[in-house]
Amino acid sequence: MSDRGDHQVSEQIAAVKLTAITKRFGSVVAVDNVDLEIADGEFFALLGPSGCGKTTTLRMVAGLEFPTEGSLKIFGDEAGTLPPNRRPVNTVFQDYALFPHMTVEANVAFGLKMQRVAKHEITGRVQEAISLVRLEGLEQRRSRQLSGGQRQRVALARALVNRPKVLLLDEPLGALDLKLRQEMQGELKALQREVGITFVFVTHDQEEALTMADRIGVMNEGELLQVGTPAEIYEHPVNRFVANFIGQTNLLDASVVSNDTVCLANGVHIPGKSDLPVGTRVAVCLRPERAGMHPPEGVPADQQSVVGRLESVTYLGNALVYTVVLDWVRLEVRRENQPGGYRPHVGEEVAVSWTLDAISVVRA
């Protein structure tokens, strides 16, 4: 388990390195003392609720905001005070920001023109970028004649054609409908593998972050709470906020008794590993799909359990979600919809159970 992910980026120079970056707007602290390293070639997601500072962080890397304090390095070069046109990064804007008075082709060629790339080279690279995002045949269209997904691709081509060292994406899929969004998730991921450029994207959608990113940084109220792979973040959230924000979870209030025991709010001691000091208020995080359900007297010996009353069953087709009420907590248990097995009725007493490796102890 790691709080701040400074692993796996040790030897080579980080694509983006933020050291003690703070951004204040007047008295509002938008980004608070953030340290972050993003490795070359990584697909990195900045995840958090709106207003958490993730977009501001991205804009600082782009050069659209200047940090109030701290160091921002792009491939080893201090870049925090450079204007956007002098940084080797490009951005895919949230609403794409395509130039409405230009054709698709002119939009894509814009960055190269501004860099005074030779004309014949521009033509070739623009064609290449347009075919990379599969927009052949639409070169002469204006952005208003394109669908949302096509606009998204133009924005991608317009940024990628410059061969940036880092590509920044601000809620790149936010404006698309669900079906298209899922399609584009896969496409973006494949595209990133193909071009090998470091992608940093901002999203409030935890599912999107889990699906696409190699690593995720979770932010809240300007702070970077945790950095890690999707599995690390999902399975070992550092605190209650992260546990709650990533996926569905049950949180049982508890306090640390020893390094392998916690005391639940109902007074029961259960095994639970943590390296937090004795007496720390914690929460036991139990994912609904990792919880088991048994009759109160039928809990396997190797499992811990709490007993409550089954309040409701939600039928999801491929799964069933059971809501179990205890006098101090309400728990959700998700079971695959398999034939046979234990099917309690609403109102019955049931035991919600777990094995030691199914839970994690997080800071409350």
């Binding site: 920001a97 501004m114 940024a159």
Partner: protein, 303 residues
């Protein structure tokens, strides 16, 4: 026609919709729309179209020896007179000053309009009010104020003396006229520019900067093309009244800087040559008409 169709008379009994009923209803609505706009039509015809026709008639007439006008025997003599060097010079000088005024207004107003358009709504509205405050004072009074500022012991000569540039007399020069015109018509440039810049999504500016454009390149490649409707509208709103300006050149300009407006007035009142005054008025209108057509053509093509 956006007017809601009424049930046409005589078809009240119809309870099922038919094509005939629909047509009759549309006709009734359109008839009512015409009736309601009749006062405006009548006003325009009576006080604009008819006088215009009279002016046109006079432009083809002949001035008689007594300063009157003979309406018999129409000819193009008045228009031919416009080719004479004196009139031609006045025409070109007026055109040049109007263009100069428009260009100065454009250069001065654009950064200002951009600044307003990128403020918070509160400051934006406050600044727009400031732009319009001069209109609360009579145009004539403001021009006389400039006479004081530009005059012998005015602010400008004092500043120029203090800077060691010597005593510079501005009043009654072409510069004074341009200063006065720019001052008078600047709001007409600021407002349409503001309106069109305000509509531009500022993330386009960020995108341009992100795509390696400098500040100036962003202006030239993104802001200017997208604000072209405002540039053209503002230019016409400044150019047209500048071309026909009468009050400002009269008050701030000297005898050597006679412009079209003054010349036309002279033709009617002093020289009593109504045909020439009328024909010049028509040439002026033609120039303005062309300018307006240019606006609609380019305005229609843009976005």
């Amino acid at each position: 026609m956006t007017m809601v169709a009424d049930r046409p008379e005589g078809l009240e009994e119809a309870s099922v919709a038919t094509p005939e009923f629909e047509k009759a209803a549309e006709r009734a609505a359109s008839r009512r729309g015409f009736l309601l706009s009749l006062p405006a039509y009548a006003y325009l015809v009576l006080f604009f179209a008819v006088p215009l026709g009279i002016v046109m008639m006079y432009s083809f007439a002949t001035r008689n020896r007594f300063g009157g006008t003979d309406l018999s025997g129409w000819n193009l003599n008045a228009y031919r007179k416009l080719g004479e060097p004196i009139v031609r010079d006045i025409l070109f000088r007026s055109l040049w000053l109007a263009i100069l005024t428009t260009l100065i207004c454009l250069v001065v107003a654009y950064p200002f309009a951009y600044f307003i358009a990128t403020r918070t709504p509160l400051i934006r509205n406050l600044m727009l009010v400031f732009v319009m405050i001069p209109f609360w004072t009579n145009f004539l009074v403001r021009n006389y104020a400039w006479r004081v500022l530009l005059g012998n012991d005015g602010l400008f000569t004092n500043i120029s003396e203090a800077l060691g540039l010597g005593e510079r007399e501005l009043l009654f020069t072409t510069s004074a006229v341009v200063i006065g015109l720019v001052y008078g018509f600047l709001p007409f440039m600021v407002l349409p520019l503001y309106a069109s810049i305000e509509r531009i999504d500022l993330s386009l500016v960020e995108a341009s900067r992100d795509l390696y454009a400098s500040g100036f390149q962003t202006f030239r490649r993104v802001l200017l093309p997208l604000s072209m409707p405002g540039v053209i509208a503002g230019s016409i709103l400044v150019f047209v009244p500048s071309l026909g300006a009468y009050v400002t050149p009269e008050i701030l300009g000297g005898a050597k800087t006679t412009l079209l407006g003054s010349y036309i007035v002279t033709q009617f009142l002093t020289a009593r040559n109504w045909p020439v005054g009328a024909s010049l008025s028509f040439v002026l209108m033609a120039v303005m008409l062309v300018a307006t057509l240019v606006y609609f053509r380019t305005g229609g093509r843009n976005l």
